[in-house]
């Protein structure tokens, strides 16, 4: 079990999640963040703070998002850890509004 970042992060990558992760289990590529399920301790801090609601617990994935459990596992192994917040991707606010509507 672990928390999982889904495709709603793609193109936003606000990284608010990174600031509240107690165990530095977030990884990063050009598009989005991923959670390393081996290090995540299920504290649940990241899910409510994500501005676009991209993060869900693996035991409660929304319909059609289950693939992201495995994608997080794979991509976290291939990408570097991110320990501090970075600026969101260009166009993030626009995408966040689109996702909210």
């Amino acid at each position: 079990m672990a928390y999982v970042v889904t495709d709603a992060c793609r193109g936003c990558r606000y990284t608010e999640c990174v600031t509240v992760c107690p165990v530095e289990c977030f990884h990063l590529d050009e598009q989005m963040t991923y959670i390393d399920p081996e290090n995540c301790i299920d504290c649940g801090g990241c899910a409510p703070i994500c501005p676009v609601g991209a993060i869900h617990p693996s035991w409660q994935m929304p319909a059609g998002k289950s693939d992201w459990v495995e994608i997080n596992r794979l991509r976290a192994a291939e990408t570097p850890v991110i320990a501090a917040k970075i600026p969101p991707l260009p166009g993030a606010d626009e995408q966040a509004r689109r996702l909210a509507s």
Binding site: T19, P22, V23, I41, C43, G45, P48, G53
Partner: protein, 439 residues
């Protein structure tokens, strides 16, 4: 400023560790002395997080890593405010960060609150987690019904520990005295009572959901409390609040007939009025807020979990309304003016809210404020090394991190024998003896 800046961090819970990490990784030449009143570090991770949530406790591997950073020193067994004053620390350090949490329970302020059988959550949680200040307490588990007052995750922890079977707790790091007492518990029903409705409850969906998976306990609601049913969460409710409603609906719709022998009732819209009993709690009177309708519940144990506040530290400005050290963004303030060199983080800065990781962002904010002020802070007049040496003499038993690791190893060894992750030592004397530190 080029010389090494020396910082005292008071408290070794998540807030203290994350502020320390931010300081030691800042690139500024800084050394941190972390003061802890107990022989064991980690604050609420050790003494607050429930024993049946072991995964959360894995965060201590991060704290171990921080403790290994160059410039870190742990000074356990020293209580700031008692063994050493804040003024004395301030004289020997460039800055002091108070991360002493929120150790005081808020009281209900109703008649009968001091009867035997009436407790505050902090005492019960300290007891089952083997806190040296609570290990000697006893809780009467002989009556059929217990009532927990409060609608937050702490209330859920208390109720869940009361409702789990001994087998569900046996392989956790629950204190042995608590496991033995709970194995003999005659409690068959726990009511979790809150003043407000569903929208005011502060349960996390994850913690609430665990009440659907208890081995020998069914969870339900009382239809009298919610005549209109469970309201749809408002559109602007957060992710958490939106996830809570369907879980509660599941409890409300539970049909029973599972043969489980214990029951949990989550009650809404009831405020405590008084506790009654001869020498011991026998009943609790509740009232619908704004009406005269009262309900009397027979019960032998009442545990209130309605909030916490920071213990004031002598010489540190206190915000009595918020129950925290008076501060703005982590800078401690007297009458709205920052006190040079005095900072706070964690629950003693922002109140008892958030997850473990919230303290990381909080610690970073305080450390950033401190580092921005550093050039303007006067150099200490006293020597931190001399102070630490004198404290060892004064208390007779300070512990460094290696001494703590000896305690930790001994607890793990005892735990293996009992099939538990650790069997905690629950008195200072035992811990000091195992650490090889004179008591």
């Amino acid at each position: 400023m080029s010389a090494l800046a020396r910082i005292a961090v008071v408290g070794s819970g998540p807030a203290g560790f994350y502020a320390t990490e931010a300081l030691l990784r800042s690139g500024v030449p800084v050394a941190v002395d972390m003061f802890e009143r107990l022989p064991a570090p980690f604050g609420l991770v050790r003494f607050g997080v429930a024993p049946d949530h072991p995964k959360l406790k894995q965060v201590t591997t991060v704290f171990d890593r921080i403790a290994g950073l160059p410039g870190f020193r742990f000074i356990g067994g020293v209580e700031v405010g008692a063994d050493v004053g804040v003024a004395e620390l301030s004289a020997c350090y460039h800055a002091v960060i108070l991360a002493n949490g929120a150790s005081l329970d808020r009281r209900m302020g109703i008649p009968g609150e001091d009867l035997a059988g009436s407790h505050q959550a902090g005492a019960f949680i300290g007891w089952y987690n083997g806190h040296p200040d609570a290990a000697h307490l006893s809780f009467d588990l002989s009556a059929e019904r217990a009532v927990v007052i409060g609608h937050g995750n702490v209330a859920l922890d208390v109720a869940r520990i009361l409702l789990k079977t001994a087998d569900e707790l046996r392989h956790t790091d629950i204190a042995a005295h608590a496991l033995n007492a709970l194995a003999e518990s005659r409690i068959r029903e726990v009511q979790i009572v809150g003043r407000g409705g569903v929208e005011r409850a502060r349960f996390s969906p994850k913690e609430l959901g665990e009440f659907g998976d208890l081995l020998d306990c069914e969870t339900g609601l009382d239809p009298d409390d919610l005549p209109e049913g469970i309201p749809e969460p408002s559109i602007d409710a957060g992710v958490e609040a939106r996830a809570v409603a369907p879980i509660l609906r599941g409890f409300a719709d539970a049909q029973g007939g599972t043969g489980k022998r214990r029951r949990c009732l989550i009650r809404f819209g009831l405020e405590p009025v008084r506790l009654a009993g001869k020498d011991h709690v026998q009943s609790l009177q509740l009232r619908r807020p704004g009406s005269d309708r009262t309900i009397d519940l027979d019960c032998g144990l009442v545990i209130s979990s309605i909030g916490r506040r920071t213990a004031p530290v002598p010489g540190v400005p206190y915000d009595a309304r918020a129950g925290i050290h008076a501060n703005l963004g982590g800078r401690i303030q007297a009458e709205g003016v920052p006190v040079p060199g005095l900072y706070t983080c964690g629950w003693s800065k922002r109140g008892p809210h958030g997850t473990i990781g919230t303290n990381r962002a909080c610690g970073v904010e305080t450390a950033t404020a401190l580092l921005a002020d550093l050039a303007s802070l006067p150099a200490p007049i006293g020597s931190a090394d001399a102070l630490v040496a004198s404290l060892a003499k004064r208390t007779g038993h300070t512990l460094d991190y290696a001494a703590w690791r000896r305690i930790e190893a001994a607890e793990a060894a005892r735990g293996r024998a009992a099939g538990k992750p650790r069997e905690k030592f629950v008195t200072r004397a035992e811990m000091l003896a195992v650490a090889g530190v004179a008591a």
